[in-house]
Symmetry: C2
Subunit: 359 residues, 2 copies
Amino acid sequence: MAAALKNDLLLRALTRQPVPRTPVWIMRQAGRYLPEYRELRAKAGEFMSLCSNPELACEVTLQPLRRYSLDAAILFSDILTIPDAMGLGLYFEAGEGPKFERPVRTAARIHKLAVPDVAEKLAYVFDAVTLVRRELNGALPLIGFAGSPWTVATYMVEGGSSRDFSRIKGMARQEPALLDELLDVVARSTIDYLNAQIDAGAQAIMIFDTWGSALSPEQYRRFSLQRMQQVLDELQREKDGQTIPVILFTKGAGELLTVMAETGCDALGVDWTTDLGQARRLTGDKVALQGNLDPAVLRGSPEAVEQGVAEVLASYGDGPGHVFNLGHGITPDVDPDNVGVLVEAVHRLSPAYHSDISG
Amino acid sequence: MAAALKNDLLLRALTRQPVPRTPVWIMRQAGRYLPEYRELRAKAGEFMSLCSNPELACEVTLQPLRRYSLDAAILFSDILTIPDAMGLGLYFEAGEGPKFERPVRTAARIHKLAVPDVAEKLAYVFDAVTLVRRELNGALPLIGFAGSPWTVATYMVEGGSSRDFSRIKGMARQEPALLDELLDVVARSTIDYLNAQIDAGAQAIMIFDTWGSALSPEQYRRFSLQRMQQVLDELQREKDGQTIPVILFTKGAGELLTVMAETGCDALGVDWTTDLGQARRLTGDKVALQGNLDPAVLRGSPEAVEQGVAEVLASYGDGPGHVFNLGHGITPDVDPDNVGVLVEAVHRLSPAYHSDISG
């Protein structure tokens, strides 16, 4: 039996229930801006050595929670675990981001891809989830995650990070059925992967679509949104009587928020290029919204951070359905003290926007 | 006396007058994808040696016109000529883009910045304009350009290309009056610079706001849009009885197109992440639209290029006010033959959208 959650603000906000204050967590909160992370990372050697060791992944997941009064843990992992489990050979080159030894660029390679046995190949992820849940002991909810099929597929085809996605965009135009086949096997793998995270104890799910907005709106609907929909439709949305909220995040979504809100997800991540008030109008308040402070603000003074927090809270305005976060991941050069300022400011300033309930 | 224009399709489309077919030009049409450009560039040595030599800049400007039936020339130059004229020391490191020897990061440095004497310091630009006009001899219109004050200022403060604009965004939050001062001197310099280009013979003007969409919508209005408005308000919009149309282009503008259309500009550049039909609705058909093929399409097959052209034309639909272009600059790895396919497809497919006039 899972212990009852002591702090369920995140789950309540994601399902648009009243809360006494706005919950807050930070994308990449377990990461390089923390000296204790860098220390562990230096000992572990490769980045993937951290991800693939459940004890280390658990420790890294918990590090920011010891410093800050955050309202959620998010599993320390990577969006490319699935293609790695498919045999593409994930590795990281210093300063260059993720790469694959064997990218998939031909019909022959794509035909051979199969949904991996996640229970075997990605056991390290689910073991980390179980460990984190045990360590949290009901203090906070744990968020599990995956990349969107489109975003994961960009790395599989391009072989790593890309500036302009020329190979996969070429495939989208010249061999769309082949790209559909690739996206389908990634989507089906993602379904297994996220459902296994939920079985292991993940209490909310976030799908990161970092590169969906590199597409035209029409291509976005076909190649990115449709595949997130496929995943959403097959996820277990309840576990042990608890709703498992799902957050979709397409960076730079802008007007695409409108169609994203129609997928049946619970919440949308929003970056700072869309005002939260505008995002509420675009989505008709059908979903909760998560975001959207510009991470660059965290490199300013404590006063600037507090002002940034105040502006984000004001832009969302009154009522439930807001989870405070950055609009993208925190960067390695941030002073950890500024994260404390951010969290404290959300705690102090947000109750005014929830005055309709007695906290 | 300037010769009468033989092909004025661009100027008519930019002012939303009827045309028999959609005019077409390509951002960075004079550039590295052309072998004859690379040859000249190798002889000239530094990139700026091409820009600062009027004969070479003229030759490079004309190169794509010898290959393709384009409807406009655009001056070969750089958006950072103004800060270079202010004494910041522009240089280019191979593979790293533009850099400044002396970026401006302190109040003391910014207080000392002055509008340069463009007639003296940037004579090479106006001489190139005059030369191109003479060579064109009325065959096609010549587009002059500048960066937006915000975009130029990002390079001046960051010292070069930036991933997240941390320094200038810090200034925007902590010393907004100082940033206003910087933007004002850049805007006033841009006014002088563009008016001198018009005096020298530029027949349309484009303002490139490559980085405006890195800001929040509120910051965009204050730091980017307002300064483009300042420039617009002081440009000569007519010369020798001819209207000088002005195109604003904020990459990734999305919904910002609505406020951009209210500046009094003639046309807006649109990238491929906004559908042209949607852009028409956002702007209420108040302005002409220029764009918006994804440059990645040019790396596909000739059939894919033609299909891409057809889709862009269809997304704009019937009527005047469309200038065909890419949604961002052409990349160096494009096969020049595909540019020919693009131009030919616009010529062949676009008359169907202008059936209301007898071409």
